[in-house]
Every structure is written in structure tokens, then in C-alpha cells.
């Protein structure tokens, strides 16, 4: 028996559909629907169309403050995790001659992930706290005379925690794209008289662009969608978009929360769109 061509095509994509429809498309439809309905203020949703939720979101100065703060964290985290991730991957790929050792070190990078996120964050407290290790050492060396306050429960601490948590998401894809660079290509550049800096900017950076873009997508979308780290590490001093959204939900304001969520999805999509515009990942991978 021969199935029609179009039906066979649908069979091929069906596993993906089975995942995407219930876990992505349906929730999105529900959220978008809820965002344009009226709430009764007690957790109920009434079937009346309204744009008030969006008007509230865009009309509030708070929204812009929240986005400003979240995007600030995103950019800082992105910059630091990209710089650190790039150098770790570079070291592993180009400077560790023994492949077994490179893979071993690579696995060591994942060790922090064997514990929960909460424990990893809590573990910063004895390090960064007022009587923490860093302050103690700095005071002991006589560099400062009273403890640095900004180390814990601050924007600084938030960024530190994010970078700690997310650098691995940069290392993995960058390591992967760097490992695919033929060593002879680097040698050929050397043969042509390129300095180390030339090799870095003309060969290694362009050839690991796809990894950097993939890592950036991970980092940006995770930070944009997170509220937990901000809440814990800032000690409640800083807010984020999702934290506000969570507030709405906890007081049963579902339609405004849904409108907020839709706006966030659009902003994140815009940011990822920008990344993909800068680096044509499909072309880079196909090369």
C-alpha cells in the first residue's frame, strides 16, 4: 500500500508536533486568550473581550522600570558569560593538547550543576556576605577597613549568580563550534604570517560565531525569564519582569499576568531575532 505523499510528510513531522502542540502551542493559545479577557478580581476569568490589560501594561511606568532592570541584568550576564565562556572553551580546545584531559576538564565545568540551583546560590552567602570570605580576606590584607556592602544582596550579587549559573551554557556550544575548527586552518594562518591576535580575530572568532550565538540565545532567554535569582540574590532590592508577573498570579490577577507574559514573549523573540540576524546559524552550521 502506498500512502499519499503529503500524508507521509505529516508522519515525518508528527513526533515534533506531538511535543510542540500540547506543550507549546496550546499554552500559548490559552495565555493569549486570557490576556484579552476580563478578570473578576478573585481569580475568575470572564468571557468579555478587553484590551484594558495591555493598556495597563503599557501605561504603567513600572513596566519600563522592570524591563530596564531585567535587560540590564541580561546584558551584564551575557557579556560576562560570553567572555568567560569563550576563554574557557578556547583554552580547552586549543591549549589542552591531551584530548582526554580536555574532556575531563570539560566535565569538571559541569560539576556545579550536580547540586541544585538553590544550594549554588546559598553557597555565595558565606563567600560574599558581610562577614564572608571575600570581606575577611580583603580586611585581613588591609585593603579595606570596613566590609564591602555591595557584595551580597545587590545587583552585583545577582549578576555573579547568573554568570555562575549560565556560563556553562556558553561554554558548551562555543566548545562545540571551536572543536570543529580544523587545527591545520590555524596552522595555515600562522604560515601566512598571522599573529596570535590575527588568528583570534580572523579565524577563531568568526568560526565560533554559531556557538556564541547559540549560547547567547540560552543565556538571554533564561535571564529574561527568571525571577528567582533576582529575588534571592538582591535580597528583594531589585525586581524583574517575571517577578512582577508572579506577584500578579499570587494575587489571582490572571488576565494582567497573561498580558504581561505575552509582552515578555514578544520582547524575548525580538532579542533572539536580533541574535539570529547577526549570526546566520543555519548557514554557519551547514558550512
Amino acid at each position: 500500500m502506498r500512502l499519499p505523499r503529503s500524508l507521509v510528510g505529516w508522519f515525518y513531522v508528527s513526533p515534533l508536533m506531538l511535543v510542540l502542540i500540547p506543550f507549546f502551542v496550546l499554552p500559548m493559545v490559552v495565555i493569549i486568550t486570557a490576556s484579552v479577557l476580563e478578570g473578576d478580581g478573585f481569580g475568575g476569568i470572564m468571557p468579555f473581550f478587553t484590551t484594558q490589560n495591555y493598556i495597563d501594561v503599557f501605561g504603567s511606568g513600572l513596566t519600563f522600570n522592570l524591563y530596564f532592570s531585567t535587560i540590564k541584568f541580561t546584558i551584564l550576564t551575557w557579556v560576562f558569560s560570553l567572555i568567560i565562556g569563550f576563554w574557557v572553551a578556547y583554552f580547552l580546545v586549543f591549549h589542552v593538547k591531551n584530548q582526554l584531559l580536555a574532556i575531563g576538564l570539560f566535565l569538571v565545568c559541569t560539576v556545579p550543576f550536580w547540586t541544585s540551583n538553590i544550594i549554588r546560590m546559598i553557597s555565595w552567602i558565606p563567600l560574599l556576605g558581610k562577614e564572608g570570605l571575600v570581606n575577611m580576606i580583603l580586611q585581613g590584607l588591609g585593603i579595606i577597613d570596613k566590609p564591602l556592602e555591595f557584595l551580597l544582596f545587590s545587583d552585583f550579587a545577582v549578576v555573579v549568580a547568573y554568570v555562575h549559573q549560565l556560563t556553562i551554557f556558553m561554554i558548551v556550544p562555543i566548545f562545540n563550534s571551536m572543536a570543529r575548527i580544523d587545527k591545520r586552518v590555524v596552522e595555515a594562518a600562522l604560515d601566512a604570517g598571522a599573529s596570535r591576535f590575527d588568528i583570534m580575530r580572523y579565524i577563531i572568532v568568526p568560526l565560533s560565531k554559531s556557538g556564541m550565538a547559540l549560547g547567547s540565545i540560552f543565556v538571554v532567554s533564561i535571564v529574561m525569564g527568571d525571577f528567582f535569582v533576582v529575588r534571592v540574590m538582591s535580597g528583594g532590592g531589585s525586581a524583574s519582569v517575571v517577578a512582577a508577573l508572579y506577584e500578579d498570579i499570587s494575587v489571582l490577577q490572571y488576565p494582567p499576568a497573561a498580558a504581561n507574559a505575552v509582552v515578555l514573549v514578544l520582547v524575548v523573540m525580538l532579542m533572539i531575532g536580533l541574535i539570529l540576524r547577526t549570526v546566520d546559524i543555519r548557514r554557519e552550521i551547514a558550512r
Binding site: R184, E187, A189, D191, A192, G193, A194, S195, I203, P206
Partner: protein
């Protein structure tokens, strides 16, 4: 001009390379004249690529000196040596267009854009890639990639061009075509080419100087005809092919020739040709070119007196076009093959299993070291 002409001279003086306990190259000495096409020939792992990489400056010798144009270059960067290397499977920059690949060396030397593109375009024209200048390497065929690699290496006007198995990534037909292009390019540029290969046909077709290597040592270095026709020893003779190598015992030494006898071989005279230190009773190897062997039917055998001859049986026959390869019963472990011209063979075709007498002119016998 004469001093200018000598800048591509290469001299390897006791050059050796050791990796931990493994000796890759054992103190070799070699002179390569300027403007020569030199091929290093040997099986994989014989150290030929290591030598190339040491001349290129991608590896440092453990001991010995490398002189280019009379100047010791050990420890210098490739750019200071004015050498350029063409890598195995080319190692083109996959993200750069043909033009940018070729202009790369000028770019890192700080040549302004307009100027380096002008030079690159001239080079592109030379290798006939004008229409493909904006393509990426991945969009080119193997032969085109090779031309890009060649142009990229040649753009800085190196005095020595080093080629690591340049033809191995190509299919048979293209290989022969690109081989000619390499030779033409070398004559065009008038610089020294050093080419590493494991294909004897490639080496003897291209090279002015063939260097045959085995396990980190030079076995023989000489012109293509010299190594092919007068191999120095059994290894060279077998590696270059085209020779039958037979072993025997020296029965008598009389000045310019000796009498040798082998299993199945009656005593016959072999010219000594300068090879000294052979005494009665020594075991010696001789080589006879496969195309010098004549096969006769035993009943009509008209063997000239004094010429060596042996009775043997046809084991297999391979048609090769312009000649026929007749494999004969081995003498001990030695291969014994006759190349018979196509016309001669079919005037009286042999069959597998036929008994024949193989003979050759005794002065065509070559005594091996």
C-alpha cells in the same frame, strides 16, 4: 642574479626529530638546489612530513641545522623563513571567499584592501579561478580548492613552497591533471618546491630530485630516472616498483663483474659497476627491470649464451593496455614479474600455467647494495 638565484637553496645538516622516545627523523643530510622540484617519497610514518614541517617552521628539529639560502632558519617563524606551505586537504579558511583566502597573508601583513585585492586578483587569474572569486571554499571542487591553496601559498612570493601530499585528496584523473599544473606553476614561479608524497608515480613524474625515505632515514636521493633505473638497494627498488629483485650468492669475483648463482638460477655474470666490497660467498641482491625480461617458450628457447635464464610458470596475467603484466612463479619470496608489450604478448599469447623461460641481457642486471 647569481646570488639572487641561490636564495631558495636548502641544506639539511644532520637534522633529526625525536618525540619522547620515538625517533621520527634520524640526522639526515641533504642539499636541494634553488628552483628544484624535490619530492620526498616514502610510506606513511617514514618522517617525510616531519621534515617538511621542520623546513616550514611548524616544528623544530631536535638537533641539526636547516639552511635556506645559506642562512640557518632554525627557530624562525615561517614568515621570516619566506617559506609557504600548502597543507594536506588544503586547510582553506572555510568562512572566507576565494579572494579573501588568497589575500589573507597580505591582510595580516597590513597591506591596504585595494592593494591586496589587486594582488589577489592577479593570482586568481593565474590559477584560472576568476569566475569563482566570491565563492566559499565549500562550494568548490577538489581541483579548484587545490588551486586556491596554491595561490594562497604563492601570493607572498615565498622562496620555497612546501606541499604536503597535495594530490592525495583528488581522484585519479584529476590527480594527473593537477600534477601537471603543479609542475607548470613551479616553472612559472621559478622557486623551490618540496613535495611530500607516498605515490612513486607522482614523485618520478614531477621531481628533479627524488628523496626516498624509510623510517626516518634517506635511502636514496637523486634524479627521477636515477632512482627508478638504478635503485641503490632492495628497499628503493621495491618501493619504486618496476624491478624484480632476486637474491643469490657470489660464486666468483672477477674485477668489473662477478658471477652469481641463485636458486633456480644458473651462474651468470653481473656487472659490479663500482659497488665495492663484494667477496666470494656473499649474499647479494640484484635487480632486473620488469620490461627487460623476455619470456620464451621452452621448445623454441634461443637463449644467447651467458645470459641468465630460468624456467618458470605463468601464475597470473593482467592486461594493462599498452603492456601485459605477466606474474611468474616466485623464486622463494621474491616477486617475479615481466612486462610484455601488448603486441608481443598477443603475437603468441601465454596462458596461466604455461611453462616459460625468462631471460634477460646479463648487462641489464643491477647489483644492489
Amino acid at each position: 642574479m647569481s646570488t639572487e638565484r641561490r636564495q631558495g637553496d636548502i641544506e639539511l645538516a644532520g637534522v633529526g626529530k625525536r618525540y619522547d622516545d620515538i625517533v621520527a627523523v634520524e640526522g639526515i643530510n641533504l642539499k636541494i638546489p634553488d628552483g628544484a622540484y624535490c619530492c620526498f617519497l616514502g610510506p606513511s610514518g617514514c618522517g617525510k612530513t616531519t621534515i617538511l614541517r621542520m623546513i616550514a617552521g611548524h616544528e623544530d628539529p631536535t638537533f641539526g641545522d636547516i639552511l635556506i639560502g645559506g642562512e640557518n632558519v632554525v627557530g624562525m617563524a615561517p614568515i621570516e623563513r619566506r617559506t609557504a606551505m600548502m597543507f594536506q586537504s588544503y586547510a582553506l579558511f572555510p568562512h572566507l571567499s576565494v579572494r579573501d583566502n588568497i589575500a589573507f597573508a597580505l591582510r595580516v601583513r597590513g597591506v591596504p584592501k585595494a592593494e591586496r585585492y589587486k594582488a589577489a586578483d592577479e593570482m586568481i587569474e593565474k590559477v584560472q579561478l576568476t569566475e569563482l572569486a566570491h565563492r566559499l571554499p565549500g562550494q568548490l571542487s577538489g581541483g579548484q580548492q587545490q588551486r586556491v591553496a596554491l595561490a594562497r601559498a604563492a601570493i607572498t612570493g615565498p622562496r620555497v613552497l612546501l606541499l604536503d601530499e597535495p594530490l592525495s585528496a583528488l581522484d585519479e584523473q584529476l590527480r594527473i591533471q593537477m600534477r601537471q599544473e603543479l609542475r607548470r606553476m613551479q616553472q612559472d614561479l621559478g622557486i623551490t618546491f618540496i613535495h611530500v608524497t607516498h605515490t612513486q608515480l607522482e614523485a618520478i613524474a614531477l621531481a628533479d630530485l627524488v628523496v626516498v625515505m624509510e623510517r626516518g632515514k634517506i635511502k636514496q636521493a637523486g634524479g627521477a630516472r636515477e632512482v627508478y633505473v638504478s635503485p641503490h638497494d632492495r628497499y628503493v627498488a621495491e618501493f619504486l616498483g618496476g624491478q624484480n629483485v632476486l637474491s643469490g650468492k657470489v660464486e666468483k669475483v672477477n674485477g668489473a663483474s662477478l658471477v652469481m648463482r641463485g636458486p633456480k638460477l644458473e651462474g651468470f655474470e653481473v656487472p659490479v659497476a663500482g659497488k665495492t666490497a663484494v667477496t666470494q660467498g656473499d649474499k647479494v641482491d640484484i635487480a632486473v627491470r620488469r620490461d627487460d625480461i623476455r619470456l620464451l617458450r621452452p621448445e623454441s628457447a634461443a637463449i644467447a649464451p651467458g645470459n641468465p635464464h630460468l624456467s618458470t610458470r605463468v601464475q597470473a596475467i593482467e592486461y594493462q593496455g599498452y603492456f601485459v603484466k605477466v606474474m611468474l612463479d616466485a623464486i622463494g619470496d621474491d616477486e617475479f614479474v615481466a612486462y610484455v608489450t601488448e603486441r608481443d604478448f598477443f603475437s603468441d599469447p601465454l596462458k596461466v600455467g604455461d611453462i616459460v623461460v625468462a631471460t634477460w641481457q646479463s648487462d641489464h642486471t643491477l647489483l644492489l647494495a
